[in-house]
């Protein structure tokens, strides 16, 4: 199947990307606004979460209920999210409803009413979302881990901070929304069944009059401590471990991706084998590569009962370090076929393609073809991976635990 890439840039800098897919009736789209958690002003962590709710509480000539009903009638599978760099609004739907869905989203993004009386429930939901995270230690430990691993403000909580949320006023939040909704730096991606000329024409008329891009500069601070324990009287100790890796844009990126797969790509990978199969320490154990534009790491989660927590952490760290000692040919072959297969299978979903092309553009300034990725995966060797690991060894680990017992971190 031939892969096609559509691209069009509005005069103000807004980038429109598309990937048509054969044999599907669905379409997925994503607006990526440069209004992620790291983009919020100091003391306003969580404002993005409030804004993402507030802008849909009335926009254009529709009030809250009318806008909600209009969106609801389109059968959207919505997928809005706050990331480090972007606030994303997306959905998958039947292709015939695309134009109407874009019009409604443009209203919310450009012409939200942002009325005072709708601010309180939007902020209250964001606050309750932070409180609810306390009850889900498996997720909370990873939020706390990113916060400490990445230098501020890159790792900021994507759900928000209670103190900041409590201090937010409607006026302050409106100001934040105004400065962060920078259309000239917004990326729009669409994948599946669509007519690109029609999409471009519509987007031009919806967003073409917006001003050009603002500044992208961000002050990067320092990283927080190496080990944090958060007491909790639950059943397990939830362990998050993260260590530095080359970012997505780096030369060694594919080598590190393959190394991560050797560590935790499938059930035959090292962490699953050593931690679960041979020692029975955990049910949930896994590591994955996580990259922002300028910093990246390999993040690992394990959940285990208190008496096994120390051994679990020790085995995990030992496995990270053992990678640079060498990798078997068969291990690498499995890692390659696993990555390539999942890439092809993900390419069958319009939602995952829209997300992938948007993220590629943000990270690299261009969209990689599946062919290019496959070639680069095939181009890695045991030697190239071991060399890459030696150039940037896994020396330092940021660790967060939540649960009834602390661990010792060397």
């Amino acid at each position: 199947m031939e892969q096609k890439a559509d691209r069009y840039v509005l005069n103000n800098g807004m980038v429109l990307l598309g990937e048509p897919m054969g044999g599907v009736e669905s379409v997925a789209f994503e607006f990526m606004l440069p209004a992620g958690a790291a983009r919020m002003p100091e003391g306003a962590c969580g404002a993005a979460n409030v804004i993402s709710d507030w802008i849909f509480r009335g926009a254009g000539d529709r009030d809250n209920r009318q806008l909600g009903d209009a969106l609801d009638g389109l059968g959207l599978q919505r997928s809005d999210s706050v990331g480090s760099s972007h606030l994303s609004f997306g959905a998958a739907l039947e292709s015939s409803n695309l134009a109407e869905a874009l019009t409604l989203h443009a209203d919310a993004i450009l012409r939200a009413h942002l009325r005072d009386e709708e601010f309180m429930p939007a902020r209250q939901l964001a606050l309750e979302g932070v409180l609810a995270l306390d009850d889900e230690p498996r997720q909370k430990v990873m939020v706390e881990l990113r916060k400490r691993f990445y230098p501020a403000p890159l790792g900021r909580s994507t759900v928000g901070e209670i103190e900041d949320l409590e201090r937010l006023s409607p006026d302050r939040t409106r100001e934040v929304a105004k400065s962060c909704f920078d259309i000239g730096r917004t990326i729009f991606a669409v994948a599946g069944k669509y007519d690109f000329d029609a999409v471009c024409g519509q987007m031009e008329s919806l967003f073409g009059d917006c001003p050009g891009p603002g500044s992208e500069a961000l002050d990067i601070g320092t990283r927080e401590g190496r080990y944090t324990h958060i007491p909790n009287e639950g059943s397990q100790v939830h362990i998050g471990v993260m260590t530095d890796a080359v970012p997505f844009t780096g030369e060694d990126y594919y080598d590190i991706r393959l190394a991560t797969s050797v560590l935790s790509g499938g059930m035959s990978a090292r962490l699953f084998t050593e931690v679960r199969e041979k020692r029975g320490l955990c049910y949930a154990i896994g590591a994955r590569y996580h990259s922002l534009k300028d910093a990246a790491g390999i993040m690992c989660y394990a959940g285990t009962t208190p008496e096994k927590a120390q051994e679990t952490l020790d085995v995990i760290v030992a496995e990270f370090r053992r990678l640079a000692e060498g990798i078997g040919d068969e291990e690498l072959d499995r890692a390659k076929v696993g990555l390539k297969s999942s890439l092809i299978m993900q390419s069958e979903s319009s939602g995952s393609r829209a997300g992938a092309i948007g993220s590629d553009h943000y990270m690299l300034g261009r969209v990689r073809s599946l062919e290019e990725i496959t070639e680069r995966i095939d181009g890695t060797t045991v030697d190239s991976i071991v060399e890459a690991l030696k150039r940037r060894p896994f020396n330092d680990f940021t660790v967060v635990t939540i649960g009834p017992r602390e661990v010792r971190v060397e």
């Binding site: 739907l93 309750e128 009287e233 639950g234 699953f272 084998t273 320490l281 955990c282 959940g303 068969e330």
Partner: protein, 407 residues
Amino acid sequence: MQFERKELSNGLVLIGEINPSTKSAAVGFFVRTGSRDETPEINGVSHFLEHMLFKGTDALGALEVNEAFDRRGAQFNAFTSEENTVYYASVLPEYLLDITELWAELMRPALRDDDFDMEKNVIKEEIAMYEDTPTFDVIDRCRTLHYGPHPCGNSVLGTVAGIDALTADQMRRYFARRYAPNNMVVACSGNFDWGRFCATVEARCGRWQPQTVDRLLTDFEGTRASERLGKPSLNREHVCLVHTGVSAQDPRRFAASLLSLVVGDDFGSRYYWELVDKAIAEAASMHFGPLDGTGIFYNYLRCSHAAVPRVMDIVTGIFRGLLRDGISEDELTKARNKVLSALVIKNELPMGRLVDLGFNWMYLGQYRSVEEDVEAIKAVRVEEVNTLIRELDLSRFTQYSLGPTAA
């Protein structure tokens, strides 16, 4: 799209939906067994057995099994519910036959003692993990409370004490009774060759011996009891309500699934506008859970402990309003659009299609195309949903709450 079916002489049914335009294929072994088929002495065995199938056969060790899947880039896993154990994989077409053969081989596991003892640890960790996941835990506990003496209340995971006491011999006897060819379906969807698929399965599974397999299929109206458990680790109140629903075989199941969206979809539903939009509850949803010969609706609500009385007032008000006035034409249209669009998106992927294909056969013994399901959803009328509301009486439910101890 082409449907195929074949039954082996031992009762094993093979079904396939071939779609040459997809880039992958998905295969699944669906076994009609789960916690409702367990006695109290062996509670948790279905799920534990699912783990043990990955430990290999007389010819294959556990690590070799994992390598065999990973060598073909398979995305594979399994799950166990109250009444089904499903093993599945999605792969590129060139690996489908290898993976089908591997699954078929694994369906006759060695169940070695040392693997059994080691995996017990993993099972107990899984139980502990779900204890720390109140969104899951509260629904599980509420289902158990709702079903009372009915076997659909059996816990899928079991308890730590029960798992400790379970023996490998008990598991072997359960396996021999339940993993019979006449109690399983092998399904495949996507881009694959039907003839070669059948030959692969038949070569591995054709000599399995059929068994007499049964299941208690009584319905149960529910205990309508109410309980709360305080936990020091929690700061939110997690509330689950379970209503009596209709079964997976009941023609009213389409109306039931639309009703659950009208009442409790994440966005735009009655719960959304009355509870979430106003920030009285942070999460509120309703799902329809059809089962073999019985069925439930489960509702999940999350809010502060202090807000519970207000939330429950609103929820019971919604139920009373539904009983009094029914749903509107507009609500039904929106719910229908949501179901249809979800159906289309899900079925574009071979893996999404496999699940519907397999379960339609397990529950109905029939093939249903996506188009047939689309037509069935489109045909539901407001009056059918309103009749269902009256028949089920949503004002009566079982309630379980998990929340902070200090409350």
